[in-house]
């Protein structure tokens, strides 16, 4: 009985999505004409799930399924982010859906499954659940990314799939080594085993492998290559989904792994830092020569994931809170940018060439676009400035040893300015090019909402940063203060308090 009650109390959001996915599957089998009615059902279900997330009691840490499913403030927060991103994606996909009305139920179902995978991923507490959830997210993403059958998007999908399979094999290899060390796949048992056994080296290797494999989700090195192709070729809503929701899930599990499982392995922080540095450098440098805005968004998202990882690598509460803040703002900015691109996309992709003269023809759209890209570039009065500001601040407070690190991050954000400005400048070009735009109410909802949020949180960022501090504090017992100067990195790690 207790088991059932546990599930009913704790897993309501997931259950709703599960039921919704099954329902959509049946709708997809039964009819091809569900286009108009299915949208409201889908949004209703996601909204209901979101509400269920909100009403979860997050003050105490609770678990279900014998400890393999964790409900804490942190995980619920990431679930809310995932759900919000999925709702936005569904609003954003309006154009695609209108063009492919017959496959709407399948499309929504796969989105549901992906969101469900992400949600279970961030709250999984053993590697079996984590792996299955990860693959749920990945496999539905593979299918979604190949959803345009008319065009040559399959090669990109195949690359995505093969890269993903290799990444998951790498993760599994790391997990198998961890399993061999501890004899269990549960996070807490492995954590205890790492603490007691003197297998630091192999734990470091397996941690590196697991994190590298998870970087596939974040599109950072070593598995970043797929991102530009897939973002370019897949339906734009799916690109938005991949660059936001799937990344958020990846960040959620990486933060939890680093803070709960690999707590004692300080070397992983260095690995995270290295991953961050290399991927932001690669993303920004590749972005410099790019003309296609969708591919540019991919490079930008690689770089942004790099920034977030850079601040995670510091491992303090301050850095975690700024990372959480960055993730929230990243979501907002990206949805603003993607919805602008969706309005502009006429099927052949958006290039800087095709943006010319937009500011004179469609000032409102250009304004939204400018605010989104300026925010991504990190200019003041937009929210991106504050996320960068807190990021730099977290690095500064981590100690003067990290000043070269800070300089590198600063240099990178300077380089990034160039390609964001390339897009902005193209809009103010005097030569005008033909643009066909697509407006719909649902699309406008996302566009207006995210742009307003980008502006509003740019002016009043304090509630958001306070909230992200709370989130970081709740995960804090698992995070160790990074004491770079003393050299005593993680002598006294505190295991997570579990009731």
């Amino acid at each position: 009985m207790e088991f059932a009650a546990d599930i009913k109390n704790l897993m309501m959001p997931e259950i709703i999505l599960f039921v919704g996915a099954l329902l959509l599957c049946f709708i997809g089998i039964l009819t091809d004409k569900a286009y108009k009615r299915v949208f409201s059902i889908v949004v209703l279900m996601l909204g209901l799930s979101f509400l269920m997330c909100l009403q979860l009691d997050t003050d105490t840490v609770s678990m279900a399924f014998g400890g393999s499913f964790l409900i804490s403030k942190f995980t619920v927060f990431f679930k809310e982010l995932i759900l919000a991103g999925t709702i936005s994606t569904i609003f954003l996909s309006d154009k695609y859906i209108k063009q492919n009305q017959k496959s709407v139920a399948e499309f929504y179902m796969l989105l549901f499954v992906a969101a469900l995978g992400g949600m279970i991923l961030v709250s999984s507490r053993d590697f079996i659940t984590m792996f299955v959830a990860l693959e749920t997210l990945s496999i539905s993403s593979y299918i979604l990314s190949g959803f345009i059958k008319e065009k040559n998007s399959q090669e990109a999908t195949l690359k995505y799939l093969v890269t993903g399979c290799v990444a998951s094999a790498v993760i599994l290899y790391g997990v198998s080594l961890l399993y061999g060390m501890s004899g269990s796949l549960r996070f807490d048992v492995i954590f205890a085993a790492i603490k007691s056994a003197s297998m630091f080296n192999i734990a470091a290797l397996s941690g590196t492998l697991v994190i590298s494999g998870l970087c596939f989700k974040l599109a950072t090195i070593p598995f970043y290559n797929w991102a530009p192709d897939v973002y370019e070729k897949s339906p734009l809503a799916v690109s938005a989904f991949l660059s936001t929701v799937s990344k958020v899930a990846g960040f959620g599990i990486i933060i939890r792994l680093v803070s709960e499982l690999f707590n004692g392995i300080w070397i992983l922080y260095l690995v995270l830092g290295l991953i961050a540095l290399v991927s932001m450098a690669i993303g920004n440098l590749l972005g410099l020569c790019e003309e296609n805005v969708k591919r540019l968004m991919a490079y930008s998202s690689i770089a942004h994931a790099g920034y977030i990882l850079a601040v995670l690598a510091l491992g303090s509460t301050l850095s975690l809170s700024s990372a959480v803040f960055y993730i929230i703002t990243y979501l907002l900015m990206n949805f603003a940018a993607w919805s602008c691109l969706e309005v502009l996309d006429n099927g052949d992709g958006v290039t800087t060439e095709s943006l010319k003269g937009l500011a004179y023809k469609r000032p409102v759209l250009a304004f939204c676009m400018v605010s989104a890209f300026a925010s991504l570039a990190g200019l003041p009065i937009f929210v991106g400035f504050f996320s960068k500001f807190y990021l730099f601040q977290a690095i500064v407070f981590a100690g003067f040893l990290l000043y070269p690190f800070l300089c590198f991050v600063l240099l990178n954000s300077l380089i990034a300015l160039y390609y964001y400005f390339k897009v902005i400048r193209a809009m103010f070009d005097e030569q005008e090019s033909e643009q066909t735009v697509f407006w719909s109410k649902r699309l406008a909802v996302v566009l207006v909402f995210s742009t307003v949020m980008v502006l509003l949180t740019g002016i009043f960022s304090s509630p958001v940063i306070t909230y992200s501090q709370q989130i970081a504090q709740s995960q804090m017992p698992a995070v160790i203060q990074y004491e770079a100067i003393k050299g005593t990195y993680f002598d006294n790690p505190r295991p997570i308090s579990v009731r």
Partner: protein, 107 residues
């Protein structure tokens, strides 16, 4: 002869894993790429089962993980084949480095 211990299985799986990795890198046939991925997953399974046998015969977590890995590996393979067939329909080629992917030839 010698005593077969855990380490032999680990070496075997490491070799198989790397062969799979190599296969993904060097193959031009898409089918072979997918097969190589399966090699990698099989290598991981060997690891899990071997560890389970030497370390965890009580809870059998490794065995369970192996089952899940198999199921998901096959699922990935199936989706990969579906996409492969789709690619083949479009381009009449299953070349991983095919000209249809891009014009530029990089050596």
């Amino acid at each position: 002869m010698f005593d077969v211990t855990l380490i032999h299985y680990l070496f075997l799986s490491a070799v198989l894993f790397c062969v799979g990795l190599l296969g993904v890198i060097v193959s031009r046939h898409l089918l072979r790429v997918l097969i190589s991925v399966e090699f990698m997953l099989n290598a991981v399974n060997i690891n899990f089962v071997a560890f389970s046998n030497y370390n965890d015969l009580i809870r059998l977590d490794g065995h369970i993980m192996a089952i899940f890995v198999m199921a998901i590996g096959v699922c990935e393979l199936a989706i990969g084949l579906a996409i492969l067939i789709l690619v083949f329909r479009k381009t009449h080629s299953v070349d991983a480095d095919g000209e249809y992917i891009e014009e530029e030839k990089w050596s």
